[in-house]
Symmetry: C2
Subunit: 318 residues, 2 copies
Protein backbone atom coordinates (compact mmCIF):
# COMPACT_ATOMS: atom_id res chain seq x y z
CA UNK A 1 0.00 0.00 0.00
CA UNK A 2 1.27 3.47 -0.88
CA UNK A 3 2.10 5.81 1.99
CA UNK A 4 -0.64 8.42 2.42
CA UNK A 5 0.13 12.16 2.59
CA UNK A 6 -1.56 15.52 2.15
CA UNK A 7 -0.24 18.78 0.75
CA UNK A 8 -0.04 21.59 3.31
CA UNK A 9 0.34 25.08 1.89
CA UNK A 10 1.20 28.18 3.92
CA UNK A 11 0.32 31.07 1.62
CA UNK A 12 1.84 34.21 3.12
CA UNK A 13 2.20 37.77 1.94
CA UNK A 14 5.90 37.32 1.21
CA UNK A 15 6.53 33.63 0.59
CA UNK A 16 4.57 30.44 0.08
CA UNK A 17 5.59 27.07 1.53
CA UNK A 18 4.42 23.77 0.10
CA UNK A 19 4.85 20.63 2.19
CA UNK A 20 4.00 16.95 2.00
CA UNK A 21 2.76 15.84 5.42
CA UNK A 22 1.92 12.39 6.77
CA UNK A 23 -0.98 11.76 9.12
CA UNK A 24 1.21 11.81 12.22
CA UNK A 25 2.54 15.26 11.24
CA UNK A 26 5.83 14.23 9.67
CA UNK A 27 6.93 16.81 7.07
CA UNK A 28 8.16 14.52 4.28
CA UNK A 29 9.36 17.38 2.08
CA UNK A 30 9.02 21.15 1.90
CA UNK A 31 9.64 23.78 -0.80
CA UNK A 32 9.32 27.55 -0.63
CA UNK A 33 8.78 30.17 -3.35
CA UNK A 34 8.02 33.90 -3.52
CA UNK A 35 4.30 34.61 -3.42
CA UNK A 36 4.56 37.84 -5.46
CA UNK A 37 1.05 38.88 -4.47
CA UNK A 38 1.25 42.00 -6.59
CA UNK A 39 1.43 39.94 -9.79
CA UNK A 40 -1.62 38.19 -11.26
CA UNK A 41 -3.21 35.29 -9.39
CA UNK A 42 -2.87 33.03 -12.45
CA UNK A 43 0.90 33.54 -12.35
CA UNK A 44 0.88 32.37 -8.71
CA UNK A 45 -1.07 29.24 -9.66
CA UNK A 46 1.45 28.53 -12.46
CA UNK A 47 4.38 28.73 -10.07
CA UNK A 48 2.58 26.71 -7.40
CA UNK A 49 1.86 23.97 -9.93
CA UNK A 50 5.55 23.85 -10.96
CA UNK A 51 6.68 23.57 -7.32
CA UNK A 52 4.06 20.91 -6.61
CA UNK A 53 5.15 18.84 -9.63
CA UNK A 54 8.78 19.12 -8.57
CA UNK A 55 8.14 18.04 -4.98
CA UNK A 56 5.89 15.16 -6.06
CA UNK A 57 8.49 13.91 -8.57
CA UNK A 58 11.19 14.02 -5.92
CA UNK A 59 8.98 12.07 -3.49
CA UNK A 60 7.22 9.55 -5.71
CA UNK A 61 5.05 6.71 -4.54
CA UNK A 62 2.81 8.75 -2.22
CA UNK A 63 -0.98 8.55 -2.16
CA UNK A 64 -1.94 12.27 -1.99
CA UNK A 65 -5.36 12.67 -0.33
CA UNK A 66 -5.85 16.39 -0.87
CA UNK A 67 -4.62 19.92 -0.24
CA UNK A 68 -5.01 22.19 2.79
CA UNK A 69 -4.19 25.89 2.52
CA UNK A 70 -3.77 28.45 5.28
CA UNK A 71 -3.85 32.02 4.02
CA UNK A 72 -4.91 35.51 5.12
CA UNK A 73 -8.67 36.18 4.87
CA UNK A 74 -9.37 32.68 3.58
CA UNK A 75 -12.97 31.55 3.93
CA UNK A 76 -13.54 27.86 4.63
CA UNK A 77 -17.09 27.83 3.30
CA UNK A 78 -16.60 29.71 0.01
CA UNK A 79 -13.07 28.51 -0.75
CA UNK A 80 -12.16 32.12 -1.49
CA UNK A 81 -9.74 34.70 -0.10
CA UNK A 82 -11.88 37.76 0.69
CA UNK A 83 -10.30 41.18 0.06
CA UNK A 84 -6.80 40.05 1.05
CA UNK A 85 -4.67 43.07 1.93
CA UNK A 86 -1.18 43.11 0.34
CA UNK A 87 -2.41 41.09 -2.65
CA UNK A 88 -3.56 42.32 -6.11
CA UNK A 89 -5.64 39.26 -6.79
CA UNK A 90 -9.10 40.85 -6.63
CA UNK A 91 -11.84 40.93 -4.02
CA UNK A 92 -12.76 37.24 -4.09
CA UNK A 93 -9.86 35.01 -5.04
CA UNK A 94 -11.09 31.51 -6.06
CA UNK A 95 -8.25 29.79 -4.23
CA UNK A 96 -9.79 26.35 -3.68
CA UNK A 97 -11.33 26.08 -7.14
CA UNK A 98 -8.41 27.27 -9.27
CA UNK A 99 -5.74 25.36 -7.36
CA UNK A 100 -7.92 22.25 -7.13
CA UNK A 101 -8.53 22.31 -10.90
CA UNK A 102 -4.85 22.76 -11.64
CA UNK A 103 -3.57 20.04 -9.27
CA UNK A 104 -6.56 17.74 -9.80
CA UNK A 105 -6.94 17.37 -6.04
CA UNK A 106 -9.62 18.37 -3.53
CA UNK A 107 -8.67 21.61 -1.76
CA UNK A 108 -9.80 23.07 1.58
CA UNK A 109 -8.75 26.48 2.89
CA UNK A 110 -8.87 28.44 6.13
CA UNK A 111 -7.26 31.53 7.57
CA UNK A 112 -3.81 31.29 9.14
CA UNK A 113 -4.99 31.51 12.75
CA UNK A 114 -7.50 28.70 12.28
CA UNK A 115 -4.73 26.65 10.70
CA UNK A 116 -2.55 27.31 13.76
CA UNK A 117 -5.40 26.11 16.00
CA UNK A 118 -5.75 22.90 14.01
CA UNK A 119 -2.00 22.42 14.15
CA UNK A 120 -2.14 22.62 17.96
CA UNK A 121 -5.12 20.28 18.03
CA UNK A 122 -3.41 17.54 16.03
CA UNK A 123 0.28 18.00 16.75
CA UNK A 124 0.72 20.48 19.60
CA UNK A 125 -0.42 21.43 23.10
CA UNK A 126 -4.06 20.92 22.09
CA UNK A 127 -3.61 17.19 21.44
CA UNK A 128 -5.28 16.18 24.70
CA UNK A 129 -7.66 19.14 24.88
CA UNK A 130 -11.24 19.44 23.68
CA UNK A 131 -11.87 23.18 24.13
CA UNK A 132 -9.12 25.77 23.62
CA UNK A 133 -8.24 29.05 21.96
CA UNK A 134 -5.11 29.81 19.92
CA UNK A 135 -3.89 33.41 19.50
CA UNK A 136 -1.26 34.28 16.91
CA UNK A 137 0.57 37.38 18.10
CA UNK A 138 2.48 38.51 15.02
CA UNK A 139 2.20 41.63 12.88
CA UNK A 140 -1.49 41.44 13.72
CA UNK A 141 -3.49 39.27 16.12
CA UNK A 142 -5.36 36.25 14.79
CA UNK A 143 -7.34 33.66 16.70
CA UNK A 144 -8.67 30.18 16.18
CA UNK A 145 -11.22 28.66 18.53
CA UNK A 146 -11.66 24.93 19.06
CA UNK A 147 -14.95 23.81 20.62
CA UNK A 148 -15.54 20.14 21.32
CA UNK A 149 -12.49 19.22 19.20
CA UNK A 150 -13.82 21.11 16.16
CA UNK A 151 -12.87 24.49 14.74
CA UNK A 152 -15.53 27.08 15.56
CA UNK A 153 -16.44 28.51 12.14
CA UNK A 154 -19.59 30.52 12.77
CA UNK A 155 -22.13 31.48 10.14
CA UNK A 156 -19.66 32.11 7.34
CA UNK A 157 -16.35 30.49 8.23
CA UNK A 158 -14.87 33.63 9.77
CA UNK A 159 -15.47 33.23 13.50
CA UNK A 160 -12.53 34.00 15.78
CA UNK A 161 -11.44 37.51 14.87
CA UNK A 162 -10.25 38.35 18.37
CA UNK A 163 -7.83 40.89 16.90
CA UNK A 164 -10.82 43.16 16.52
CA UNK A 165 -12.57 42.88 19.88
CA UNK A 166 -12.73 46.24 21.56
CA UNK A 167 -10.32 47.20 24.34
CA UNK A 168 -11.71 50.69 24.70
CA UNK A 169 -14.01 52.64 22.36
CA UNK A 170 -11.67 55.64 22.26
CA UNK A 171 -8.56 53.49 21.81
CA UNK A 172 -5.88 53.21 19.14
CA UNK A 173 -6.86 53.53 15.50
CA UNK A 174 -6.76 50.17 13.70
CA UNK A 175 -6.06 49.43 10.03
CA UNK A 176 -9.54 47.93 9.86
CA UNK A 177 -11.16 51.34 10.40
CA UNK A 178 -12.28 50.74 13.99
CA UNK A 179 -10.72 52.19 17.15
CA UNK A 180 -9.41 50.30 20.16
CA UNK A 181 -9.06 46.87 18.52
CA UNK A 182 -7.08 44.34 20.57
CA UNK A 183 -4.48 43.84 17.82
CA UNK A 184 -3.45 47.49 18.08
CA UNK A 185 -2.15 46.58 21.58
CA UNK A 186 -1.39 42.85 21.70
CA UNK A 187 0.78 42.08 18.68
CA UNK A 188 4.31 42.91 17.53
CA UNK A 189 2.96 46.10 15.99
CA UNK A 190 0.98 46.78 19.14
CA UNK A 191 3.95 46.55 21.48
CA UNK A 192 5.93 48.87 19.18
CA UNK A 193 3.12 51.40 19.49
CA UNK A 194 3.20 50.91 23.27
CA UNK A 195 6.96 51.53 23.41
CA UNK A 196 6.43 54.83 21.59
CA UNK A 197 3.58 55.77 23.94
CA UNK A 198 5.79 55.05 26.97
CA UNK A 199 8.68 57.03 25.44
CA UNK A 200 6.23 59.94 25.28
CA UNK A 201 4.72 59.42 28.75
CA UNK A 202 7.83 58.61 30.82
CA UNK A 203 11.10 60.47 31.35
CA UNK A 204 13.63 57.70 32.07
CA UNK A 205 16.52 56.88 29.73
CA UNK A 206 16.05 53.85 27.50
CA UNK A 207 17.77 52.11 24.65
CA UNK A 208 14.42 52.37 22.90
CA UNK A 209 15.07 56.10 22.46
CA UNK A 210 17.75 55.37 19.83
CA UNK A 211 15.50 53.64 17.28
CA UNK A 212 13.04 55.02 14.77
CA UNK A 213 9.60 53.41 14.61
CA UNK A 214 10.58 51.74 11.36
CA UNK A 215 13.81 50.36 12.81
CA UNK A 216 12.32 48.93 15.98
CA UNK A 217 11.48 45.21 16.00
CA UNK A 218 9.74 42.97 18.50
CA UNK A 219 12.99 41.14 19.13
CA UNK A 220 14.76 44.42 20.04
CA UNK A 221 12.05 45.16 22.61
CA UNK A 222 12.33 41.65 24.06
CA UNK A 223 16.13 41.84 24.31
CA UNK A 224 16.05 45.29 25.89
CA UNK A 225 13.45 44.13 28.44
CA UNK A 226 15.59 41.11 29.36
CA UNK A 227 18.56 43.47 29.77
CA UNK A 228 16.58 45.55 32.27
CA UNK A 229 15.36 48.42 30.05
CA UNK A 230 12.47 49.96 32.00
CA UNK A 231 10.56 51.22 28.96
CA UNK A 232 10.77 47.85 27.22
CA UNK A 233 9.73 46.07 30.43
CA UNK A 234 6.89 48.53 30.89
CA UNK A 235 5.72 47.79 27.35
CA UNK A 236 5.39 44.07 28.15
CA UNK A 237 3.52 44.83 31.38
CA UNK A 238 1.14 47.17 29.54
CA UNK A 239 0.61 44.62 26.75
CA UNK A 240 0.05 41.77 29.20
CA UNK A 241 -2.48 43.75 31.23
CA UNK A 242 -4.59 44.50 28.18
CA UNK A 243 -4.24 41.02 26.68
CA UNK A 244 -5.03 39.34 30.01
CA UNK A 245 -8.16 41.45 30.48
CA UNK A 246 -9.46 40.41 27.06
CA UNK A 247 -8.50 36.77 27.63
CA UNK A 248 -10.72 36.88 30.73
CA UNK A 249 -13.53 37.96 28.39
CA UNK A 250 -12.71 35.11 26.01
CA UNK A 251 -13.07 32.69 28.93
CA UNK A 252 -16.46 34.17 29.86
CA UNK A 253 -17.69 33.38 26.34
CA UNK A 254 -16.02 30.03 25.77
CA UNK A 255 -14.84 28.48 29.07
CA UNK A 256 -11.84 26.86 27.35
CA UNK A 257 -9.44 24.44 29.05
CA UNK A 258 -6.47 26.41 27.77
CA UNK A 259 -5.35 29.45 25.81
CA UNK A 260 -2.28 28.88 23.64
CA UNK A 261 -0.22 31.85 22.43
CA UNK A 262 1.98 31.68 19.36
CA UNK A 263 3.70 34.08 16.94
CA UNK A 264 6.61 36.52 17.14
CA UNK A 265 5.59 38.26 20.37
CA UNK A 266 5.69 34.98 22.31
CA UNK A 267 9.48 34.78 21.87
CA UNK A 268 9.52 36.97 24.98
CA UNK A 269 8.30 34.00 27.04
CA UNK A 270 7.54 34.82 30.68
CA UNK A 271 8.05 38.54 30.02
CA UNK A 272 4.73 38.35 28.20
CA UNK A 273 3.16 35.39 29.96
CA UNK A 274 3.48 36.59 33.58
CA UNK A 275 1.66 39.96 33.32
CA UNK A 276 -0.90 38.41 30.95
CA UNK A 277 -1.71 35.56 33.32
CA UNK A 278 -1.89 37.89 36.33
CA UNK A 279 -4.30 40.25 34.55
CA UNK A 280 -6.40 37.37 33.25
CA UNK A 281 -6.78 35.73 36.66
CA UNK A 282 -7.58 39.08 38.26
CA UNK A 283 -10.36 39.73 35.75
CA UNK A 284 -11.80 36.22 35.55
CA UNK A 285 -15.34 35.62 36.76
CA UNK A 286 -14.95 33.57 39.98
CA UNK A 287 -16.22 30.32 38.49
CA UNK A 288 -13.33 30.22 36.03
CA UNK A 289 -10.45 31.22 38.29
CA UNK A 290 -7.43 28.90 38.36
CA UNK A 291 -8.98 26.62 35.75
CA UNK A 292 -7.64 27.97 32.45
CA UNK A 293 -4.09 27.14 31.37
CA UNK A 294 -2.19 29.90 29.59
CA UNK A 295 0.67 28.50 27.51
CA UNK A 296 3.06 29.34 24.72
CA UNK A 297 2.95 27.01 21.72
CA UNK A 298 5.67 24.42 21.35
CA UNK A 299 4.91 23.57 17.72
CA UNK A 300 6.70 26.65 16.42
CA UNK A 301 9.46 26.51 13.88
CA UNK A 302 9.21 26.98 10.16
CA UNK A 303 6.85 24.02 9.64
CA UNK A 304 4.12 25.35 11.95
CA UNK A 305 1.82 26.89 9.35
CA UNK A 306 2.26 23.98 6.94
CA UNK A 307 1.26 21.54 9.68
CA UNK A 308 -1.89 23.52 10.38
CA UNK A 309 -2.90 23.53 6.72
CA UNK A 310 -2.11 19.81 6.52
CA UNK A 311 -4.16 19.16 9.66
CA UNK A 312 -7.16 20.75 7.94
CA UNK A 313 -6.66 18.52 4.88
CA UNK A 314 -6.38 15.41 7.07
CA UNK A 315 -9.55 16.41 8.92
CA UNK A 316 -11.38 16.95 5.63
CA UNK A 317 -10.16 14.25 3.27
CA UNK A 318 -9.40 11.25 5.47
CA UNK B 1 -49.04 3.99 22.16
CA UNK B 2 -48.84 6.37 25.09
CA UNK B 3 -48.21 10.03 24.32
CA UNK B 4 -44.63 10.98 25.14
CA UNK B 5 -43.76 13.98 27.34
CA UNK B 6 -40.94 15.35 29.45
CA UNK B 7 -40.99 17.32 32.69
CA UNK B 8 -39.65 20.87 32.36
CA UNK B 9 -38.79 22.59 35.64
CA UNK B 10 -38.01 26.29 36.00
CA UNK B 11 -36.38 26.57 39.41
CA UNK B 12 -36.24 30.25 40.31
CA UNK B 13 -35.29 32.17 43.41
CA UNK B 14 -38.94 32.92 44.24
CA UNK B 15 -41.08 30.26 42.61
CA UNK B 16 -40.68 26.95 40.82
CA UNK B 17 -42.76 25.91 37.83
CA UNK B 18 -43.26 22.30 36.83
CA UNK B 19 -44.61 21.55 33.36
CA UNK B 20 -45.37 18.54 31.21
CA UNK B 21 -44.21 19.29 27.67
CA UNK B 22 -44.67 17.37 24.42
CA UNK B 23 -41.95 17.13 21.79
CA UNK B 24 -43.47 19.92 19.68
CA UNK B 25 -43.39 22.25 22.67
CA UNK B 26 -46.99 21.97 23.78
CA UNK B 27 -47.35 22.65 27.52
CA UNK B 28 -49.80 19.90 28.54
CA UNK B 29 -50.03 21.07 32.16
CA UNK B 30 -48.23 23.43 34.52
CA UNK B 31 -48.10 23.92 38.28
CA UNK B 32 -46.27 26.46 40.37
CA UNK B 33 -45.10 26.46 43.98
CA UNK B 34 -42.93 28.61 46.26
CA UNK B 35 -39.25 27.64 46.08
CA UNK B 36 -38.47 28.77 49.64
CA UNK B 37 -34.75 28.63 48.97
CA UNK B 38 -33.98 29.64 52.56
CA UNK B 39 -35.43 26.36 53.89
CA UNK B 40 -33.62 23.03 53.54
CA UNK B 41 -33.08 21.50 50.13
CA UNK B 42 -34.76 18.24 51.23
CA UNK B 43 -37.94 20.20 52.01
CA UNK B 44 -37.86 21.56 48.44
CA UNK B 45 -37.52 18.03 47.05
CA UNK B 46 -40.50 16.90 49.18
CA UNK B 47 -42.70 19.68 47.83
CA UNK B 48 -41.49 19.13 44.24
CA UNK B 49 -42.36 15.42 44.52
CA UNK B 50 -45.84 16.23 45.78
CA UNK B 51 -46.49 18.67 42.91
CA UNK B 52 -45.10 16.18 40.39
CA UNK B 53 -47.36 13.40 41.69
CA UNK B 54 -50.38 15.71 41.52
CA UNK B 55 -49.71 16.84 37.96
CA UNK B 56 -49.01 13.27 36.79
CA UNK B 57 -52.21 11.97 38.37
CA UNK B 58 -54.23 14.74 36.73
CA UNK B 59 -52.67 13.93 33.35
CA UNK B 60 -52.45 10.16 33.35
CA UNK B 61 -51.46 7.97 30.44
CA UNK B 62 -48.29 9.87 29.51
CA UNK B 63 -44.92 8.22 28.80
CA UNK B 64 -42.52 10.48 30.73
CA UNK B 65 -39.03 10.37 29.16
CA UNK B 66 -37.13 12.41 31.74
CA UNK B 67 -36.74 15.72 33.53
CA UNK B 68 -35.01 18.95 32.43
CA UNK B 69 -34.28 21.68 34.98
CA UNK B 70 -33.20 25.25 34.37
CA UNK B 71 -31.87 26.96 37.49
CA UNK B 72 -29.33 29.59 38.57
CA UNK B 73 -25.70 28.36 38.62
CA UNK B 74 -26.68 24.89 37.45
CA UNK B 75 -23.83 22.86 35.98
CA UNK B 76 -24.74 20.50 33.16
CA UNK B 77 -21.72 18.25 33.68
CA UNK B 78 -21.88 17.79 37.46
CA UNK B 79 -25.67 17.93 37.85
CA UNK B 80 -25.14 20.35 40.73
CA UNK B 81 -26.08 23.94 41.52
CA UNK B 82 -22.79 25.64 42.39
CA UNK B 83 -22.89 28.31 45.17
CA UNK B 84 -26.36 29.52 44.21
CA UNK B 85 -26.96 33.02 45.62
CA UNK B 86 -30.30 33.51 47.41
CA UNK B 87 -30.46 29.83 48.38
CA UNK B 88 -29.41 28.18 51.68
CA UNK B 89 -28.89 24.79 50.09
CA UNK B 90 -25.11 24.57 50.41
CA UNK B 91 -22.23 25.07 48.01
CA UNK B 92 -22.90 22.08 45.77
CA UNK B 93 -26.56 21.17 45.57
CA UNK B 94 -27.02 17.63 44.13
CA UNK B 95 -30.02 18.70 42.07
CA UNK B 96 -29.93 16.01 39.36
CA UNK B 97 -29.18 13.12 41.72
CA UNK B 98 -31.64 13.88 44.52
CA UNK B 99 -34.55 14.80 42.25
CA UNK B 100 -33.80 11.89 39.91
CA UNK B 101 -33.78 9.43 42.84
CA UNK B 102 -37.04 10.81 44.20
CA UNK B 103 -38.96 10.88 40.91
CA UNK B 104 -37.27 7.74 39.52
CA UNK B 105 -36.54 9.57 36.27
CA UNK B 106 -33.33 10.66 34.52
CA UNK B 107 -32.61 14.34 35.18
CA UNK B 108 -30.51 16.87 33.24
CA UNK B 109 -29.87 20.43 34.39
CA UNK B 110 -28.50 23.67 32.97
CA UNK B 111 -28.47 27.32 33.91
CA UNK B 112 -31.45 29.50 33.01
CA UNK B 113 -29.77 31.32 30.12
CA UNK B 114 -28.71 28.08 28.46
CA UNK B 115 -32.28 26.83 28.89
CA UNK B 116 -33.51 30.00 27.17
CA UNK B 117 -31.11 29.34 24.29
CA UNK B 118 -32.39 25.78 23.91
CA UNK B 119 -35.94 27.07 24.02
CA UNK B 120 -35.19 29.41 21.11
CA UNK B 121 -33.43 26.60 19.25
CA UNK B 122 -36.38 24.22 19.42
CA UNK B 123 -39.43 26.47 19.66
CA UNK B 124 -38.38 30.05 18.93
CA UNK B 125 -36.47 32.33 16.57
CA UNK B 126 -33.54 29.90 16.55
CA UNK B 127 -35.56 27.09 14.92
CA UNK B 128 -33.99 27.66 11.50
CA UNK B 129 -30.62 28.86 12.80
CA UNK B 130 -27.43 26.91 13.42
CA UNK B 131 -25.28 29.53 15.20
CA UNK B 132 -26.78 32.11 17.52
CA UNK B 133 -26.51 33.77 20.91
CA UNK B 134 -29.32 34.37 23.42
CA UNK B 135 -29.02 37.10 26.04
CA UNK B 136 -31.39 37.23 29.00
CA UNK B 137 -31.61 40.83 30.16
CA UNK B 138 -33.32 40.56 33.54
CA UNK B 139 -32.11 41.36 37.03
CA UNK B 140 -28.73 40.23 35.73
CA UNK B 141 -27.47 39.33 32.27
CA UNK B 142 -27.21 35.68 31.26
CA UNK B 143 -26.19 34.21 27.94
CA UNK B 144 -26.49 30.95 26.08
CA UNK B 145 -24.46 30.26 22.97
CA UNK B 146 -25.50 27.81 20.26
CA UNK B 147 -22.74 26.61 17.90
CA UNK B 148 -23.61 24.24 15.10
CA UNK B 149 -27.04 23.58 16.65
CA UNK B 150 -25.51 22.55 19.98
CA UNK B 151 -25.18 24.43 23.26
CA UNK B 152 -21.61 25.65 23.78
CA UNK B 153 -20.69 24.24 27.21
CA UNK B 154 -16.93 24.75 27.45
CA UNK B 155 -14.65 22.82 29.74
CA UNK B 156 -17.02 22.58 32.67
CA UNK B 157 -20.52 23.34 31.49
CA UNK B 158 -20.37 27.03 32.34
CA UNK B 159 -19.45 28.73 29.06
CA UNK B 160 -21.47 31.81 28.12
CA UNK B 161 -21.16 34.15 31.10
CA UNK B 162 -21.42 37.30 28.98
CA UNK B 163 -22.78 39.17 31.98
CA UNK B 164 -19.21 39.31 33.22
CA UNK B 165 -17.27 40.40 30.13
CA UNK B 166 -15.53 43.68 30.78
CA UNK B 167 -16.94 46.96 29.48
CA UNK B 168 -14.22 49.05 31.06
CA UNK B 169 -11.68 48.09 33.73
CA UNK B 170 -12.59 51.07 35.92
CA UNK B 171 -16.32 50.58 35.47
CA UNK B 172 -19.22 49.87 37.80
CA UNK B 173 -18.72 47.53 40.73
CA UNK B 174 -20.43 44.19 40.18
CA UNK B 175 -21.90 41.77 42.76
CA UNK B 176 -19.38 39.20 41.52
CA UNK B 177 -16.46 41.25 42.87
CA UNK B 178 -15.18 42.49 39.49
CA UNK B 179 -15.55 46.00 38.07
CA UNK B 180 -17.07 47.01 34.75
CA UNK B 181 -19.03 43.80 34.08
CA UNK B 182 -21.56 44.06 31.23
CA UNK B 183 -24.49 43.15 33.49
CA UNK B 184 -23.89 46.25 35.60
CA UNK B 185 -24.95 48.21 32.48
CA UNK B 186 -27.14 46.00 30.28
CA UNK B 187 -29.84 44.54 32.51
CA UNK B 188 -32.84 45.87 34.40
CA UNK B 189 -30.56 46.64 37.34
CA UNK B 190 -28.03 48.18 34.95
CA UNK B 191 -30.49 50.60 33.38
CA UNK B 192 -31.65 51.66 36.86
CA UNK B 193 -28.04 52.48 37.71
CA UNK B 194 -27.77 54.39 34.43
CA UNK B 195 -30.91 56.43 35.22
CA UNK B 196 -29.34 57.43 38.53
CA UNK B 197 -26.07 58.33 36.83
CA UNK B 198 -27.93 60.52 34.31
CA UNK B 199 -29.95 62.17 37.10
CA UNK B 200 -26.58 63.12 38.59
CA UNK B 201 -24.95 64.21 35.32
CA UNK B 202 -27.79 66.11 33.64
CA UNK B 203 -29.92 69.04 34.80
CA UNK B 204 -33.22 68.56 32.93
CA UNK B 205 -36.50 67.79 34.69
CA UNK B 206 -37.60 64.16 34.60
CA UNK B 207 -40.27 61.97 36.09
CA UNK B 208 -37.38 59.72 37.15
CA UNK B 209 -36.53 62.34 39.81
CA UNK B 210 -39.60 61.36 41.84
CA UNK B 211 -38.64 57.73 42.52
CA UNK B 212 -36.20 56.20 44.97
CA UNK B 213 -33.78 53.60 43.67
CA UNK B 214 -35.81 50.89 45.39
CA UNK B 215 -39.07 52.11 43.89
CA UNK B 216 -37.86 52.39 40.31
CA UNK B 217 -38.62 49.46 37.96
CA UNK B 218 -37.58 48.70 34.40
CA UNK B 219 -41.18 49.12 33.30
CA UNK B 220 -41.33 52.63 34.77
CA UNK B 221 -38.22 53.59 32.79
CA UNK B 222 -39.68 52.13 29.59
CA UNK B 223 -43.01 53.93 30.05
CA UNK B 224 -41.30 57.23 30.83
CA UNK B 225 -39.07 56.91 27.76
CA UNK B 226 -42.09 56.20 25.54
CA UNK B 227 -43.77 59.29 27.03
CA UNK B 228 -40.77 61.42 26.02
CA UNK B 229 -38.83 61.62 29.28
CA UNK B 230 -35.31 62.66 28.25
CA UNK B 231 -33.50 60.96 31.15
CA UNK B 232 -35.30 57.66 30.54
CA UNK B 233 -34.64 57.91 26.80
CA UNK B 234 -31.01 58.73 27.49
CA UNK B 235 -30.75 55.66 29.70
CA UNK B 236 -31.85 53.43 26.83
CA UNK B 237 -29.39 55.10 24.46
CA UNK B 238 -26.57 54.67 26.96
CA UNK B 239 -27.50 51.04 27.59
CA UNK B 240 -27.80 50.27 23.88
CA UNK B 241 -24.43 51.82 23.09
CA UNK B 242 -22.64 49.67 25.66
CA UNK B 243 -24.59 46.52 24.84
CA UNK B 244 -24.08 46.99 21.09
CA UNK B 245 -20.33 47.47 21.52
CA UNK B 246 -20.07 44.21 23.43
CA UNK B 247 -22.32 42.41 20.96
CA UNK B 248 -19.84 43.41 18.25
CA UNK B 249 -17.18 41.65 20.35
CA UNK B 250 -19.41 38.57 20.66
CA UNK B 251 -19.66 38.50 16.87
CA UNK B 252 -15.86 38.69 16.53
CA UNK B 253 -15.59 35.57 18.67
CA UNK B 254 -18.53 33.58 17.38
CA UNK B 255 -19.75 34.93 14.01
CA UNK B 256 -23.34 33.99 14.83
CA UNK B 257 -26.25 34.29 12.41
CA UNK B 258 -28.33 36.09 15.00
CA UNK B 259 -28.40 37.50 18.51
CA UNK B 260 -31.71 37.05 20.32
CA UNK B 261 -32.55 39.23 23.32
CA UNK B 262 -35.04 38.20 25.97
CA UNK B 263 -35.95 39.13 29.56
CA UNK B 264 -37.53 42.12 31.25
CA UNK B 265 -35.48 44.84 29.58
CA UNK B 266 -36.64 43.74 26.11
CA UNK B 267 -40.18 44.89 26.89
CA UNK B 268 -38.89 48.27 25.71
CA UNK B 269 -38.70 46.92 22.14
CA UNK B 270 -37.18 49.36 19.65
CA UNK B 271 -36.23 51.76 22.45
CA UNK B 272 -33.56 49.21 23.31
CA UNK B 273 -33.10 47.54 19.93
CA UNK B 274 -32.38 50.66 17.83
CA UNK B 275 -29.42 52.10 19.77
CA UNK B 276 -28.06 48.59 20.38
CA UNK B 277 -28.16 47.68 16.70
CA UNK B 278 -26.61 51.02 15.66
CA UNK B 279 -23.73 50.63 18.11
CA UNK B 280 -23.17 47.00 17.16
CA UNK B 281 -23.02 47.74 13.43
CA UNK B 282 -20.71 50.69 14.01
CA UNK B 283 -18.30 48.53 16.01
CA UNK B 284 -18.45 45.38 13.88
CA UNK B 285 -15.31 44.26 12.06
CA UNK B 286 -16.04 44.91 8.38
CA UNK B 287 -16.42 41.26 7.42
CA UNK B 288 -19.42 40.89 9.74
CA UNK B 289 -21.30 44.09 8.94
CA UNK B 290 -24.95 43.74 7.93
CA UNK B 291 -24.86 39.98 8.44
CA UNK B 292 -25.98 39.48 12.05
CA UNK B 293 -29.68 39.69 12.90
CA UNK B 294 -30.52 41.33 16.22
CA UNK B 295 -33.97 40.29 17.44
CA UNK B 296 -36.21 40.19 20.48
CA UNK B 297 -37.46 36.74 21.46
CA UNK B 298 -41.03 35.83 20.58
CA UNK B 299 -41.23 32.78 22.86
CA UNK B 300 -41.76 34.88 25.95
CA UNK B 301 -44.68 34.42 28.26
CA UNK B 302 -44.80 32.44 31.46
CA UNK B 303 -43.98 29.12 29.77
CA UNK B 304 -40.62 30.30 28.38
CA UNK B 305 -38.29 28.88 31.02
CA UNK B 306 -40.24 25.61 31.26
CA UNK B 307 -39.93 25.15 27.50
CA UNK B 308 -36.16 25.64 27.68
CA UNK B 309 -35.78 23.07 30.43
CA UNK B 310 -38.05 20.70 28.50
CA UNK B 311 -36.00 21.27 25.32
CA UNK B 312 -32.90 20.12 27.20
CA UNK B 313 -34.69 16.98 28.38
CA UNK B 314 -35.91 16.24 24.84
CA UNK B 315 -32.38 16.71 23.52
CA UNK B 316 -30.98 14.40 26.17
CA UNK B 317 -33.54 11.63 26.61
CA UNK B 318 -35.14 11.17 23.20
Amino acid sequence: MKKEAVVGIDLGGTSTKVGLVSEIGEVIAMQRFDTEGRQEFSSFVDRLEAVYNKIITENEGLDIKGVGIGSPNANYFTGQMMNPPNFSWGKRVPLAKDIGDRLSLPVVITNDANAAALSENLYGLGRDLRDFVVLTLGTGLGSGIVVNDKLLLGQDGIAGEMGHVNVRPDGRMCNCGLSGCLETYASVTGIKRTVFKLLADLPMPSKMRSYSYNELTGLMITEAALAGDLIAQGAFTYTGEILGTKLADAVAYLSPQAIILTGGLTKAGDLLLDPTRAAMEERLFHMYRGKVKLMISEVGGEHDAILGAAALAWQEFN
